[in-house]
Amino acid sequence: MSGPRRWLPALAPFITLGLLLLAWWLATRVFGAPAMLLPDPWITLQGLATGLRSGEIQGDALATLSAAVLGYLIGALLAFGLAAAMAMCRPLERMLLVPLMAFQSIPKVALAPLLYLWIGFGMQSSVALVALACIYPVFVNSLTGLRAVDQNLVDLYRVSGAGELRILWSVRLPSAAPQVFVGLEISVVFALLAAVVMELVAGERGLGVRIQAASATLDMATVFGAVAVLAAIGVTASAALRWLRRKLLFWQRNPAAVQATA
């Protein structure tokens, strides 16, 4: 009785995916989209398999992923440190909040050519761009979370004789964690985006380099294969983060109640 009702909802996203694949296949086979622009799903899959067998895709994926993960960690740590310092020190907030918000209005990918000139070719500039792209979402959500702490809890610790550092560690950080995670989840997407953009501008290797090289020779199967791998990385990373959040923030019954600040 409860069987199909239980697994059908879990299957729903895959039905959408299947329908999209069908539409893709129809577009190439029935409506005759030129294979030079849109290869059919089967050819794409074969291209992906060839790339995987030669190990090229794994190598490129690893390069992109390393830059994205390293930049993400650096950006998130910087952002969180900044938010914690500003939450503890009002003058610092007054000095930095407006400049940081102005910084957010710059599309970070526009800095890619500049970073290439400053830092040079290859991974280090990818890491830098990813870090820049990840800073703001983590920063602003952390600050919101750290500020929204229950004042009574803080008072309770103060009355018990606790210092500001202990309050930060025992009350502010755990209270802010759900909001910090919102920022971390938003930044995952930005991290991949920034890593690929930097590779398009000045990459040595990586999925972005692969996409650009293949487009230059109109090798659409390779382009689509690389995009599929990027999508898989993005989806997996987001899911892993959600899993981590559920494990760490076990007391949260309604994560949807946490509003994203961006």
Binding site: D155, V159, S160, W251
Partner: protein, 263 residues
């Protein structure tokens, strides 16, 4: 006169000509004006007043988070100049840490001070027994009802053995039935521990049921309008609330509020 000064030396909390003014965006605000009363050692004193009478401000003064702008407020004869370990606080909301279980929540005041938890753990378990939650020591707050959470809050306020318990409308967020049970429970706990209590409320029956003395405050600027000794015999129970004396006392307090100008 002699007797009065002796009495104040023994008081758990003594408040003398206490003023509190602060600057707001609309100019200076006189929150408390010439407040004057005591909480004798072991006594249960309620501060009763409408919202905006500075009850919560008084509580922040008593726990050392605010300084008076005039007069004095002293714990066991020593002026309050900052947070002191002799007070325990119960808030209107349970204010528990959702990521800590019940026992660890009760231990918060001990850990916050950086003190050793060893002996305190036994005391915390004993307090959980007293608030009838010994079976829930390893549960998390979200697994408890509002009344149970508030009882954890009471146990937490007592864990470091304070002489004075400050309670800020602790039952205001509970439903009516839970509230009456909690009043009876609090009386039992108070009689069992012998603590002095400063209980802040805007409920007349709650104040009459629990207190030895009720201090009525007026809205801003908060000052003492009347003090009423409650001579109902203890232990009081649900039936007490139906007694003629209870009705007479609550009525007397209602009259005081009726005479007060609207805020």
């Amino acid at each position: 006169m002699q007797q009065a000064s002796e009495g104040s030396a023994q008081a758990a909390l003594s408040i003398r000509k206490l003023d509190l003014a602060y600057a707001s965006s609309r100019g200076p605000v006189q929150a408390l004006l010439q407040l004057d009363f005591d909480v004798e050692a072991g006594a249960f004193v309620s501060v009763l007043g409408p919202s905006g009478c500075g009850k919560s401000t008084l509580l922040r003064l008593a726990c050392g988070l605010l300084r008076p702008s005039g007069g004095s407020i002293a714990l066991a004869g020593r002026p309050i100049e900052g947070p002191r370990p002799e007070v325990g606080i119960v808030f209107q909301q349970p204010t528990l840490l959702p990521w800590k279980n019940v026992l660890d929540n009760v231990l918060v005041p001990v850990r916050a001070r950086g003190a050793d938890v060893g002996v305190a753990r036994l005391r915390a378990l004993e307090l959980l027994r007293m608030v009838k939650l010994e079976a829930f020591a390893s549960h998390y707050p979200h697994e408890l009802s509002g009344g149970m959470q508030q009882r954890v809050g009471i146990a937490r306020a007592l864990v470091h053995d304070p002489a004075l318990l400050l309670m800020d409308e602790p039952f205001a967020a509970l439903d009516a039935m839970t509230r009456e049970n909690m009043m009876v429970e609090l009386q039992r706990i108070w009689r069992g521990t012998g603590k002095s209590v400063l209980f802040i409320t805007h409920s007349i029956p709650e104040a009459v049921f629990l207190s030895d003395r009720v201090v009525v405050m007026s809205p801003r600027p908060g000052r003492v309008v009347q003090t009423l000794a409650i001579d109902l015999p203890r232990p009081r129970n649900i039936e007490t609330m139906g007694s003629p004396r209870f009705a007479a006392l609550t009525n007397e307090l209602r009259q005081v509020f009726a005479r007060m100008e609207p805020a």
